[in-house]
């Protein structure tokens, strides 16, 4: 895992949370949209909060796709869930909202789940069960496994060693 990859995962978390909250704030300003008055949708996009929210969600999508190009789906998804935790903390400390005990429990569960995944490898493949142990103590799946997986897929991407850049 390079520093840049951690930045991408942070981007997935932050952009999702910020985009969703901007969108929901903007949509509450514009009011509800009925299926018979779809021009309301166009007006909604003109709302600055909605527009910024859409841009943030596009940024989320770009970083999500970026992360999926080098990590498992089951590795990236918990990172997106950390956005819920972020939103709750923002609500507590920036907006001074009350957070119920159940919600604190939810925050603890999500954080625990993310901790479980973050401690393991980012990329796994069943075709290569023997991920070299100890070769990558920093928690990456092992460039060797990655390369082998690429080779099995027909080596669209040329082989490289992640270690070299980190």
């Amino acid at each position: 895992m390079t520093f840049r990859k951690y930045l991408v995962l942070a981007g997935v978390t932050v952009f999702a949370a910020a985009g969703d909250s901007m969108l929901s704030y903007g949509m509450k300003q514009t009011g509800s949209i009925s299926i018979h008055h779809l021009q309301g949708l166009v007006l909604a996009v003109l709302n600055p909060y909605v527009a910024v929210g859409i841009l943030l969600l596009l940024a989320f999508f770009a970083s999500y796709m970026n992360a999926l190009s080098w990590a498992d789906l089951t590795y990236v998804l918990p990172a997106t869930s950390l956005g819920y935790v972020l939103l709750a903390l923002v609500a507590k400390f920036a907006l001074h909202e009350q957070i119920s005990l159940l919600r604190w429990l939810g925050i603890a569960l999500i954080s625990g789940g993310v901790g479980f995944v973050a401690g393991g490898p980012a990329l796994t493949h069943q075709e290569s069960p023997a991920v070299p142990k100890g070769a990558n103590d920093d928690g990456t799946a092992g460039a060797a496994a990655h390369n082998r997986a690429n080779a099995l897929r027909g080596a669209k991407a040329p082989l490289f060693h992640e270690k070299a850049e980190s």
Binding site: M65, L105, V117, G120, A157
Partner: protein
């Protein structure tokens, strides 16, 4: 009867979310490590590879269907049930789908994580 419709709506949302996520993950694995690709052949090569990948378009389509079915499900059932139920079941469904279709090694660590996150999301959004 209303409950049945609500849960059918939730399951439809979960189904298309999972399909979208799995197709997107497969598309990006076919594209390859974006950082490496970008450094070697530039941004446009990355964009080109993504836009010529059919799994990418199928995935986006499935995600769009999931989004609109969420809107419909929200009009059938309560937000406080539909949103957290769909979000947390999607996590569980993705763990199964990633194991079956993407051949990811979903070990005990990741199962625990999926269950914890699903429960946490349900509590937070509920």
């Amino acid at each position: 009867m209303r409950h049945v419709y609500t849960w059918i709506g939730i399951l439809i949302v979960v189904f298309f979310s999972v399909v979208g996520d799995v197709l997107m993950a497969r598309a990006m694995k076919q594209v390859g490590d974006v950082h490496e690709l970008w450094r070697r052949s530039g941004l446009w090569s990355v964009v080109g590879r993504v836009l010529t990948n059919s799994n990418f378009f199928l995935g986006v389509t499935a995600m769009a269907v999931a989004f609109f079915s969420l809107l419909f499900a929200l009009s059938w059932g309560d937000v406080s049930l539909v949103a957290p139920a769909a979000a947390s079941l999607t996590f569980i469904g993705n763990a199964f789908a990633a194991k079956i279709f993407l051949h990811e090694k979903v070990d005990r660590r990741r199962w625990i994580a999926a269950v914890l996150v699903a429960a946490g999301v349900a509590l937070l959004a509920g």
